[in-house]
Symmetry: D2
Subunit: 208 residues, 4 copies
C-alpha cells in the first residue's frame, strides 16, 4: 500500500517543485487570501485542497477558489476547518452551516477538518460524524501514534485505535444519509486525482 | 392527541401565571442573562428550556443554568441555537461544537435549534441531522403550513411535509449513532416533565 | 455637594420604586434587549442610560432605544461599552466607530465607558481621551479608592488621583475638538435631568 | 517636493526588486501571517509597515513582527486597521484598544488606518482624531481627488480639502496630548527611514 501525500505550500516559488512530489497541494487557512500562491497552485496541475481562512466568509472562500479555477485547474477541494469567534472553550468554532451552504452554491467537493475545528480530541469524533451527516464529502482528521508526545496539535489528535473506531461510526452515518462510505467509493482526493490524471491514488481521511 | 406547550417567558412577573398553563417554560436567547427571570423560572417548578444567548460562551450558558438549578429546579434543557459571528451567509453560526463540549461537562440534556441556527430553510435539514450525529438529545425545528406567509421566521421554517421527511432521516441517523429515535424513547421534554411530576406529556421536536 | 445617583435596574417590577430614589436609571448591557424592562424604564419618567449589549449591533441599540422613546420618554443616553470579539488581550473591544455612526443617525447623546470597554486600568485613560476626540458627549469611568481591594472590576478601576489626572487631560482634548469641557457645560445627565424636570442635578463622569 | 513611496508586497519573490524602488514596504492585512513574505521583508533592509490581519489578535501581530525583527531589521511600524466583528454598520471595527495595549508591550511605533478601520468617509475624521488621542504615532488615511470615481475604496476616501481640514484638527489633538504634531517632528516613516539609512524622506499621513 502506498499512502498518498498532501503537502502544504507557503511560497509561490516552491509550488512547482512541490507539485512534482505530492498528490495534492494544500493551501492552508492562513494562506487562503495569498493570491500569488493561489495562482501558482492553479497553474501546478495538481489537485488543490483549499482551507477556509479562520475569519473568511463563505463568499470569500468561493472567491479564493476562483483564483485557482481561473488558471484552468478544476480540481479544488474546499475544506471547512473552523472560524474564529468569541468562544474560547474550543480552539475554533467549526462552522458546519458552511457545508449545506457551499453544497448549494458550488459543485466543488467540501470536506471538513474537525481536528482544527474543535482543537479537542474528545470533540473530534462527534464533529466528524456531524460533518458527514451534514453532507460533507470527506474528512481530514489528525492522527498520531502517541498524541501526548506530538510536537504540535497533540490535543486534537486521535490515536490510530480511536481513528479506526471513528471510521466505523462514520460508515454507519454515511449509509444513514444514503452515501457511499469510505472504501466503497472514491474519495474527493481520488476523484480529483483522476481528473488531473495523476498517477497515484489517495484515500479517505487521515492526516497526522 | 394533545400537543404539549412550550411558551417563552419575558418578564419575571409573568412566570407564575404562565407556569399554570404550559408544560415547559422557555427562556429565550435574549434573556439568557436575565437573572431575575432565571430565578423566577427556577421557582416555577416547570421544566425550563434555556436557549444559549447569541454571544454567550458555553461557560456562560452553564452559569445561567445554575441560576435555575439553585432554586431547586433540576429540569433544565439546554439549547444551542447559533451564535453571532462575522459570517453573513447564514443568520447565525450554529455552534455544534457546543454539543460534545456540553455533554462532557453537564448531565443536562442538550437540544439544538437548526432553524434559528441557520436562518435558511435549505440548510435546516442538513444541520438537524448533523446535530443528532453530534450527540444532541433533541431538536427544535420551526414548521409552518405556509412558510411564505409566516409573520416571522418564514425563511427558516419547514413545511409539514418537509418536517416529516426530516424526521424520517433523523430516525436513521439516531439509529446509526446507537440512540433511540423519536417515538422510541421519551424526549428530553418528556423526561423533564416526568421529573417535575407535571400532568401532561410533551413530544419530540417541532415548534412553529 | 450632593452626588447624583445612577442605578441599574434588572426587573421591570422594581423600576417604579427605583425611579423614586435615583436621578437616572441604567439599563445594563445584558438587559439591552429586555423589552419589558425597556418599556418600564420608558414609563418611569426618569432619564435612562442605555448600555449597548456586548453583541448588539449599532442598529439594535437604536431599536432598543425606540422601546423607551415610544413610551413618551425622550431622555435616553446611549452608552458604548465594548463589544465581544475574538480579541482576548482586552475584556471587550471598545467600538469607538459607534460614536460617529450614532451621532450621524440620532440626536440622542452618546457616552462611552472605557472601563468595561477595555477591562484594563492602563488602557482606560487612553481610551477615555480617544472617546472624547471621537465626539462622545460624556464618559462613564470606574473609580475605586483602593482598586486592588475592589469586590468587582478592580482591574479596570482608576484611583481618585488617576481620575483627576484623566479629567485634566480630557479637558484639553475637549477644547481641542471645540467642545465645552466637563464643568463648563451641563453633562448629558444634567441635560436629561432638566428635560425630565427631575429635582436634583447630576454631574459628569465617574461611576465606581 | 518628493513624496515618499510605500508599496505593498504580496510575493516573497518580488520583495528584493520592490525594495530597490520604494521607501517602505507594506505587508497588508491579508498577508500578516504570510511567513515567507515576512522573512523576505525582514531581509530587505527597508522599513516595513505591518498591517494587523482583520482577525489577528494583538499577540499574533507582535509575533508576526518578530519574523521581520529576527532577520535583523528593526524598522517595523505596526498598523491597526480594523478587525472583523459581527458589526455591519462599518466595514471593520477599528480596535483602538490595541494602541495603548501595543504601546505597553513594544517599543515599535503604532499607526492607525481609520479609512479601512471604518470604511465610511463620514467616520474617518472622528476616528483619526481618536487614534491620535489614544496615543497613535501616526495615521494612514486614504485621499482621492474625486472619491466618487475612485476605482476602489472611494467610500472611505477623503477629498484633499477634507484631508487638510483633518490635519488641522489632528494638530490640535496632538498638542492637547503633549505630542509633536505632524510637521513638527519626524514621522514614524521618517524615523524608520533614518534608522535604515535610506536616502529619501517620507512624511506623515496620506495614502490614496
Amino acid at each position: 500500500v502506498r499512502l498518498p501525500v498532501v503537502s502544504e505550500i507557503l511560497d509561490p516559488g516552491d509550488v512547482e517543485m512541490s507539485a512534482g512530489y505530492v498528490d495534492c497541494l494544500q493551501v492552508g487557512a492562513r494562506s487562503m487570501q495569498n493570491f500569488p500562491l493561489l495562482r501558482a497552485a492553479g497553474r501546478s496541475g495538481r489537485p488543490v485542497l483549499l482551507k477556509r481562512g479562520n475569519s473568511a466568509s463563505i463568499e470569500e472562500l468561493l472567491l479564493a477558489a476562483e483564483y485557482i479555477l481561473l488558471e484552468g485547474n478544476p480540481n479544488v477541494i474546499l475544506c471547512e476547518r473552523g472560524i474564529r469567534t468569541f468562544e474560547t472553550a474550543t480552539r475554533n468554532t467549526l462552522d458546519l452551516n458552511a457545508v449545506p451552504v457551499l453544497k448549494g452554491r458550488t459543485h466543488l467537493p467540501v470536506i471538513v477538518d474537525p481536528s482544527h475545528g474543535t482543537g479537542r480530541r474528545e470533540a473530534v469524533a462527534a464533529m466528524a460524524k456531524a460533518a458527514v451527516a451534514a453532507g460533507a464529502d470527506g474528512l481530514m482528521v489528525e492522527v498520531h501514534p502517541d498524541p501526548q508526545r506530538a510536537l504540535s496539535d497533540g490535543d486534537q489528535s486521535l490515536t490510530p485505535a480511536g481513528f479506526r473506531q471513528l471510521m466505523e461510526a462514520v460508515r454507519k452515518i454515511a449509509r444513514a444519509v444514503g452515501r457511499k462510505a469510505p472504501g466503497e467509493d472514491a474519495s474527493p482526493f481520488e476523484k480529483a486525482r483522476r481528473n488531473s490524471a495523476a498517477r497515484r491514488g489517495v484515500g479517505w481521511g487521515a492526516a497526522g
